[in-house]
Symmetry: C2
Subunit: 180 residues, 2 copies
């Protein structure tokens, strides 16, 4: 299916009705809250293994593209090889990742997950998949409103009241400041 993002866009999209300031700020804040909670489940699991978010990223992307080179991984993560080196070494030492010499280019150390690595990757991905599916399972609406609802539903249920309260109050404060 390869249902990608759909080609015809180069960052120059227009609209006659840009979002209001308050709407936009609310989305900025939802981005913060949503991302915070989005990574919280994996963080909890990783802690039990003595790993961190950086390990998660490596596990995830290597699992998605087995046999990728170190350089490809660096390009995707956009970190330095020294940063990667630390976590990669730990993942290899603990038996979650292994390397194979490249066949056409023997300088390369192609990256693969072990069975334990793939298991852990799936376990980390589970809660995030649930979260996304729950968030996206929503009735239609206009783009901004929908996006806002989606992000809101990325926030953990336990945190939603606090987030909603904040967004409500902050929106009111913002309207007062700018005079509506």
């Amino acid at each position: 299916m390869a249902d990608v993002i759909s080609a015809q866009d180069n960052g120059n999209t227009r609209s006659d009705h840009p979002l209001s300031e308050q709407e936009t700020v609310a989305l900025i804040e939802l981005m913060f809250f949503a991302y915070r909670d989005f990574v919280s489940d994996p963080d909890g699991i990783l802690g039990q293994f003595g790993f961190g978010r950086a390990h998660h990223r490596v596990l995830h992307f290597v699992g998605r593209d087995p046999g990728m080179t170190v350089q490809q991984l660096l390009d995707i993560l956009q970190i330095t090889k020294q940063s990667l080196g630390r976590v990669l070494k730990e993942l290899i030492d603990k038996g979650y990742v292994f390397q194979k010499e490249g066949e056409t280019d023997r300088r390369q150390r192609l990256l693969y997950l072990t069975e334990a690595g793939e298991e852990l990757r799936q376990r980390l991905m589970g809660p995030q998949m649930n979260r996304i599916r729950r968030a996206v399972a929503l009735p239609e609406g206009n783009a901004a409103h929908l996006y806002r609802k989606v992000l809101y539903h990325m926030v953990s249920p336990a945190n939603r009241e606090a987030v909603r309260d904040w967004i409500d109050r902050a929106s009111l404060l913002g309207e007062q400041k700018d005079g509506g």
Copy 2:
């Protein structure tokens, strides 16, 4: 207006057509790429001031709710007071934030932005507002597709080709693995 998230939902939303695995994983990855780029503009500006992301969060939320207490800020950021203490002290020392003794409760140190603080806050928020507005200015579609497009457009234009390539290739790999 206070157009909040809309009340009637407690995290138990259902759908007959949950997202496919590949769709869902693509969204997980877009969340990563989008957030990474979303914070990159502020990060650049902050660097010029000797500040980091933590300072940005404080500036943002204090600016949104002037006179908030330290405890309220801690509740929103969900970090420890020791972590906050460091950045807050720097912001105060450099003249971007100031504190006022609470009137009803003189133990409280209410938080406010100075003029310089508000200026910096606006400057940091600008690129993020642009990014959100650009991302949300899109034609309609179904919820998942729309959300995906929105997140995609949160990625910096310079990174979109790489992100698109990754998502395309990884989706194909995933379909092959699971057999379509």
